[in-house]
């Protein structure tokens, strides 16, 4: 998943028109690449771990939670973003996976294939269990 997320950052384009919506439309363009922000946020997380005397992978779950909680609060992240939006690398990585069709299938333990082109007849049946 991390590799796919890195590929996502490589495909990011700056200054592109985003969906302008319906009802109360407005023109918005994609902002600068989030990569520099991600890099500095990752460095801050690593520094927080170092301050605890260990590297990030060695932190226990509650310490990770505490550090990430503070980092997300600092970045103004309150909810899981609808997709990666450049506020914080941790929230964006989670959004990248948990908002995906793949995660939807994992959650429901069924082959719904929400974003996958498929014959319409397949949708008329209860989704097969996910292997």
């Amino acid at each position: 998943m991390a590799d796919k997320f890195v590929a996502w950052t490589r495909g990011y384009r700056e200054g592109v028109a985003l969906a302008h919506g319906y009802g109360h439309p407005r023109l918005q363009k994609s902002g600068p690449s989030p990569v520099p922000v991600y890099i500095s946020q990752l460095a801050e997380l690593a520094a927080s771990a170092k301050a605890k005397g260990v590297r990030w992978p060695a932190l226990d779950l509650e310490t990770r939670r505490s550090i990430l909680d503070a980092a997300l609060a600092k970045a103004g992240v309150r909810n899981l973003p609808p997709r990666p939006i450049g506020q914080h690398v941790a929230a964006d990585l989670m959004a990248f996976y948990f908002r995906s069709s793949e995660a939807n299938d994992a959650c429901y333990q069924a082959l719904i294939n929400r974003e996958v082109c498929r014959p319409i007849a397949i949708t008329t049946r209860k989704p097969e269990p996910r292997p």
């Binding site: 302008h20 439309p25 989704p127």
Partner: protein, 526 residues
């Protein structure tokens, strides 16, 4: 200044323009038809799969460059201005209005009647459905009888919608699959539906009708000439008579070089916003209030329908993501007994994941990480969330208006439109009763499967808007006749959404197309 001579000049390049051009080319082979559209052509169907993926992955707009930054309106519901118009990314819903929409004054003493007999409009509904290749199931209500079958059977209901149909019909209200302009098998040079499920954004297979296909099919054999990226700024009237002789325009890429289109007939097919706008902009010493505006009603009676929504939670299990752009519709409340308080609305049901999406924090505020987040999400997926909506019949007052806003201009200094919707007094007086009725319907649906309504809300804009050039028999109270011919200028027509006196209580596009096809017969006769 370059001058283009043609027989019929259609201003605007959306769905009504496409249908009008196609029909005129059939009725009058060899007639010269020019279509002038301010936006650009986005004819790269081969790229739409990629655009869709980038929309999903990055939130990018899947129609690159389908807007003109300085040609925008205050109060408009979409920024799209391109060949194909808003129907480049409509959902494809193709519901008919009902006879009551055309006889509000006669039946209920409300608003106004349309100057068309239902039987005649019904014929053109059939033609519109055939051209758009609508997939649908006949309504269970005898009042909705059809003279022609749907060109395709209904879109097969997903497992989720089958489940929700069973649930909803326990209320005693019958539901049907929503009729949609979506190919089940290839048709009209477009592919069949393979449930990309992004109909309202972009359809890579072309299964959902999109006017760009029609325009391409008309351009190749030279049945029409398309002038895209060409903004018509004014219509010019003959100095001695009241006929329109020219449309003055500029190309977006050559803003300093005006162009003129001369034609025997001019048709404004620019949608609910830009049609009135062009007529108002075309004022002159002889017509100080703009064209077709002797009644003073151009830009007035802007309409649409209000919408009330709810989310229900039920015990029956669904699997969100099967076919989220399809829905169920009930026409149970299209009709209202004349001796009962007036309320009309459609009722729609969608699968939904509302309230069941992944979240970052547990109810106590603790940050969820990895498997915890998945476990929390999974724990909330038992049963189903159901999205409910009613489009409610509301009627505009005369001051429901599009006006020219001098404080907001484009690069040529033309004032841009400002739209403000207002209800008439009768609509305002029944607002609370209407809301209570609709919420009552939602609650009666929710009773089955241990259901309960968990939230409700109302839209803060009118959907599927129309009006501004309303049709009527009396030139003192309308802008055009039932064919869209303006009362003031014999060779100037307005077609589609702007001509509707009221906005109905269900999606309007099929009605806009049916009215346009009827106008085509009259325009071809000229």
């Amino acid at each position: 200044m370059p001058v283009h001579e043609t027989d019929i000049c259609i201003i605007g390049g959306g769905i009504t323009s496409a249908m009008l051009a196609e029909r005129l080319a059939e009725l009058r082979p060899g007639v010269r038809i020019a279509v002038v559209e301010a936006g650009k052509s986005i004819f790269d169907a081969q790229n739409r799969g990629r655009y869709r993926q980038r929309a999903i992955d990055y939130g990018e707009h899947p129609w690159p460059g389908d807007y003109i930054e300085d040609q925008q309106a205050d109060g408009i519901i979409s920024m799209t201005m391109a060949v194909g118009g808003l129907a480049l990314h409509w959902g494809g819903a193709c519901n008919r209005f009902s006879e009551e929409d055309l006889r509000l004054k006669s039946l209920y003493g409300l608003a106004t009647d349309w100057p068309i007999a239902w039987q005649e409009l019904e014929h053109y509904y059939g033609e519109a459905e055939r051209r758009l290749n609508v997939s649908g199931e006949p309504s269970p209500h005898p009042e909705d009888r059809r003279s022609q079958p749907y060109p395709q059977g209904p879109i097969p209901l997903s497992y989720n919608l089958q489940t929700l149909k069973t649930w909803a019909e326990e209320s005693g209200i019958p539901f049907s699959p929503l009729p949609m302009a979506r190919n089940l098998t290839p048709f009209g040079g477009r592919g069949s539906c393979c449930v990309y499920d992004t109909c309202g954004e972009v359809c890579p297979s072309g299964a959902r009708y999109s006017p760009d296909y029609t325009f391409k099919q008309l351009i190749a054999p030279k049945k029409i000439v398309l002038h895209d990226q060409t903004l018509v700024r004014r219509l010019i009237v003959d100095e001695t008579r009241s006929t329109v002789v020219a449309a003055q325009a500029v190309r977006q890429d050559r803003p300093e070089d005006p162009i003129e289109f001369r034609a025997r007939t001019f048709v404004v097919a620019s949608g609910y916003c830009w049609s009135s706008h062009l007529l108002l902009l075309s004022k002159s010493a002889r017509f100080p209030n703009g064209l077709a505006n002797r009644s003073g009603l151009v830009g007035r009676y802007m309409n649409g329908h209000r919408f009330i929504q709810a989310t229900a939670n039920i015990d029956a299990q669904t699997f969100p993501g099967q076919n989220m752009t399809h829905s169920l519709i009930s026409r149970q409340f299209f009709r209202c007994p004349a001796d009962k308080p007036f309320v009309r609305h459609d009722t729609r049901v969608w699968e939904s994941s509302a309230g069941r999406d992944p979240r970052l924090r547990a109810p106590g505020g603790a940050l969820l990480l990895g498997d915890e987040l998945m476990a929390d999400w999974r724990s909330r997926t038992k049963g189903s969330s159901v999205r409910l909506r009613a489009y409610v019949d509301v009627h505009p007052s005369a001051d429901s208006r599009l006006t020219l806003d001098p404080s907001h201009t484009n690069r040529w200094g033309d004032p841009m439109p400002k739209i403000e919707h207002h209800y008439d007094a009768a609509t305002l007086s029944r607002e609370a009763a209407t809301r209570a009725h609709v919420l009552g319907v939602f609650n009666s649906l929710a009773k089955a499967s241990n259901g309960r309504i968990v939230n409700t809300n109302e839209g803060d804009y009118l959907d599927h808007p129309g009006g501004g050039c309303r049709m009527g028999a009396d030139p003192a109270t309308s802008v055009c006749d039932s064919y869209g011919r303006t009362h003031d200028h014999e060779n100037l027509f307005v077609v589609g959404a702007p001509t509707t006196p009221t906005g109905g209580c269900t999606n309007g596009t099929l009605t806009f197309v049916a009215l346009t096809l009827r106008s085509a017969q009259e325009i071809a006769r000229r």
